[in-house]
């Protein structure tokens, strides 16, 4: 189910109301059933994959705890669980890509290739919930989290509907603990949750989707547009993906908040970062901290010699790129970040007086790399950069006044909430001003919300 649909506008209040109406002992079951329903709205049979990974990791958690005094068995248990989860991810996400490339390679070298390119559909949100499952087994192995004995609560930890398909990728220490707590109905939680949902819908439907319609035109035929329009489309895409993903995360936070749960913040004004390193501390925080804790630090973190650190950085960011999608463009995108981080480190410390220049430089680099991310293939990427260099097209992007106003509002709110969150910021305002903001956002969604269908960008991962 998509957050920006009429079905969800019915689903959300029904699930929240019944959650509070039911006694505590039944709430997990209700939330689990609602989460299954939410997930099965897309393609029902894919829930079986989710069920399989849940069963494996749940059992692995219990076994690791039981074998507390047998380190080798514990390690084998962890390895089996991680491998099986990764195999599922590989089969559904990367096997097509590998088989396509093998076929292409065989054709190129003239080898006999009995293998045909596969066509396995990617279950929605697979990368997110597999990473959340991995997080659980690793934390249990490290002794930071007790194994969950109640299969239902563990299943709910993986499947909790607000963050099931696009995160934030939660740690068991945060979410699993909260799932056991009794949540009382509080007006403040409902109000803050609704504010977040409203803001998230505004970001997705007014900002991101309207930009998406414009950006799609340029990416469909870059040669038809002049340089200025291509640059504009690149910049707009930076705001589209931010609005889209930040919008989703904000709605997720809002839905959870309405039931009294607090999810991890995924963004903190990323385009105000003054370095690439800082950008990754502010963008998709739940993923970057996942890679930091489960890959970067185990590889040695920054307590290794420079050449090894450079290698580690390249590995982490290339894997981060591949995590996003099975495509050479994502790999290139991730590796490019690795290179930029290395260059940044080698260049040394920044001069604080030129902070805004660094912010502008970082934003430029991020925008250029979003183009790599957005391109459907390396060929398409060459086309757009080719058009940027050669220019020459006569078509123009037509940005309407409502979009300019909405984008300006988004940027203003993003800057104003850089040390807080929208719900808190709004909550501190006088009631008339607060209600004016609600009314304007609701009106903007209805009057200027995009009528085109733009799925959430991160759904494909």
């Amino acid at each position: 189910m998509l957050f920006n649909t009429i079905e969800f506008l019915v689903f959300l209040p029904v699930v929240t109301a019944l959650f509070y109406l039911l006694p505590q002992r039944w709430r997990w079951l209700w939330l689990l059933a609602a989460s299954c329903f939410f997930y099965m709205w897309f393609i029902p049979q894919y829930i079986l994959i989710l069920a399989a990974t849940i069963a494996i990791d749940y059992e692995a958690g219990l076994l690791m705890e039981r074998w507390n005094d047998r380190p080798r068995w514990r390690r084998w248990c962890l390895v089996s669980s991680v491998v099986s989860t990764c195999v599922v991810l590989f089969v559904f996400k990367y096997l097509n890509f590998c088989s396509e490339n093998l076929v292409l390679m065989a054709q190129h070298f003239g080898w006999a290739h009995p293998q045909r390119a596969l066509n396995i559909a990617l279950p929605i949100g697979l990368s997110f919930h597999t990473f959340q499952s991995l997080s659980y087994v690793i934390e249990v192995y490290r002794g930071n989290q007790r194994a969950e004995r109640h299969a239902g609560y563990y299943a709910l930890y993986v499947m909790f509907y607000p963050q099931l398909v696009t995160g934030p990728i939660e740690r068991p220490q945060n979410l699993l603990r909260q799932l056991h707590e009794k949540k009382e109905l509080q007006a403040d939680n409902i109000a803050r949750g609704m504010r977040l949902v409203l803001f998230g819908l505004f970001l997705k439907m007014v900002v991101a989707d309207n930009i998406g319609t414009l950006v799609d035109q340029v990416y469909a035929a870059p040669q038809d547009f002049g340089r200025a329009d291509i640059v504009l489309a690149m910049v707009l895409y930076s705001f589209q993906i931010y609005g889209d993903f930040f919008g989703y995360s904000t709605i997720a936070l809002g839905c959870a908040r309405m039931m009294g749960f607090t999810l991890t913040d995924n963004f903190r004004t990323p385009y105000l970062a003054d370095s690439i390193r800082e950008f990754w501390h502010r963008w998709h925080i739940s993923l970057s901290t996942w890679f930091r804790d489960y890959l970067y630090i185990p590889l040695g973190g920054n307590r290794v010699k420079l050449p090894r650190w450079m290698l580690n950085t390249m590995v982490v960011f290339t894997v981060c790129g591949i995590w996003h999608g099975a495509n050479w463009t994502f790999m290139l995108w991730g590796a490019a970040y690795g290179v930029l981080l290395i260059v940044e480190k080698l260049a040394g410390s920044k001069n604080g007086r030129w902070r805004w220049m660094h912010v502008a430089l970082t934003f430029t680099a991020v925008t250029l790399l979003w183009t790599v991310f957005r391109a459907p293939s390396l060929g398409a990427l060459a086309d757009i950069y080719g058009a940027l260099i050669h220019g020459g097209g006569n078509s123009h992007l037509n940005i309407g006044a409502p979009l300019i106003v909405a984008l300006a509002a988004f940027i203003a709110i993003d800057v104003l909430t850089r040390r807080t969150r929208f719900d808190e910021w709004c909550g501190r305002m006088a009631a008339p001003l607060r209600w004016t903001i609600y009314a304007l956002m609701a009106f903007a969604i209805v009057a200027f919300g995009s009528v085109e269908q733009h799925p959430f960008i991160y759904f494909q991962f």
Partner: protein
């Protein structure tokens, strides 16, 4: 909405609701008048307003008619009935999504409410795979002449046998399209039948005379490619529509079998796009019955 507004502005007395069959699509046409215009000319009726637009169907017609003001000069509604529009191939077609969006904005509700429904995607949003699955599911439920278990089995068997017989791929596809587009059994649960029922009700409420005209399909080509059995199914369905709505008091002009193969312009997909001769023949048939039942 602009078509509704035009009918109001022109103070129309007769409204014509149709789809792409109404228009001239053949380059060779010297007479590019629409069927609506031709009917108007035949009747000598200047206040006939064309509310046709491509790919629409009875569901959209109903909402357009319902948006017209209750107080108006309209006394007659001419509604096009396309036999393909009753089948899954059309009901679950790609065009259905934009049509449903259009329909949402036509609903008699506050404009902001309609827009809210539109931005929150309160219309079917089938993916390509879902569309295919729905069409196949529908075809599996449709009875087919022996020895086929259902319309889907007929479709598959037709593809196999024609391919084996060495037919070009385009022709095999065309024959299968005919089965997908016409092999259906009509009943009152069909969404288009429900829409037509609502149109009858609306015309009664408004005191409008209702004329339905069933579009002719290319029966010659259908018979040649698939066989007479499919033509029979099509005719049976046409009779079902005619009987049902005549009993409800509408005038039904059944033009099935009216046109020869040469008056159809499309060769790669079953459509109701006619040459000028075809459109004129259809228009004359409609005008004749409207004139005789005045």
């Amino acid at each position: 909405m602009e078509k509704v507004q035009r009918a109001v502005d022109e103070q129309a007395e007769i409204i014509y609701l149709g789809e792409s069959s109404d228009f001239s699509v053949a380059d060779a046409d010297t007479d590019r008048r629409s069927i609506c215009r031709m009917v108007a000319d035949e009747l000598g009726e200047p206040r006939m307003c064309d509310m046709a637009s491509a790919a629409t169907h009875a569901g959209v017609f109903y909402d357009m008619m319902n948006r017209l003001p209750k107080e108006s000069n309209i006394h007659t509604a001419v509604v096009t009935v396309n036999m393909r529009s009753f089948t899954a191939e059309w009901i679950y077609s790609k065009l259905e999504t934009p049509l449903r969006k259009q329909q949402l904005m036509l609903k008699r509700r506050p404009a902001l409410w309609n827009k809210a429904m539109l931005v929150f995607k309160a219309y079917p949003r089938w993916s390509e795979k879902e569309r295919d699955r729905l069409v196949v599911k529908h075809l599996r439920r449709q009875a087919a002449p022996p020895p086929y278990a259902n319309a889907r089995a007929w479709d598959v068997a037709m593809a196999d046998s024609l391919t084996t017989a060495g037919w070009p791929q385009d022709s095999v596809a065309m024959a299968c399209h005919y089965i997908k587009c016409f092999a259906t059994a009509m009943d009152e649960d069909n969404p288009r039948i429900r829409d037509l029922d609502r149109i009858v009700q609306l015309c009664r409420q408004r005191g409008w005379r209702l004329v339905m005209h069933i579009l002719p399909d290319n029966e010659e080509q259908m018979s040649r490619m698939v066989g007479q059995r499919l033509v029979q199914i099509l005719r049976d369905n046409g009779r079902y529509v005619q009987q049902r709505y005549e009993e409800m008091g509408a005038t039904v002009v059944n033009n099935q079998g009216l046109l020869p193969d040469s008056t159809f312009t499309e060769r790669n997909y079953p459509t109701e796009h006619y040459t000028q001769e075809g459109r004129l023949a259809v228009a004359k048939a409609i005008a004749a019955i409207m004139e005789s039942e005045k």
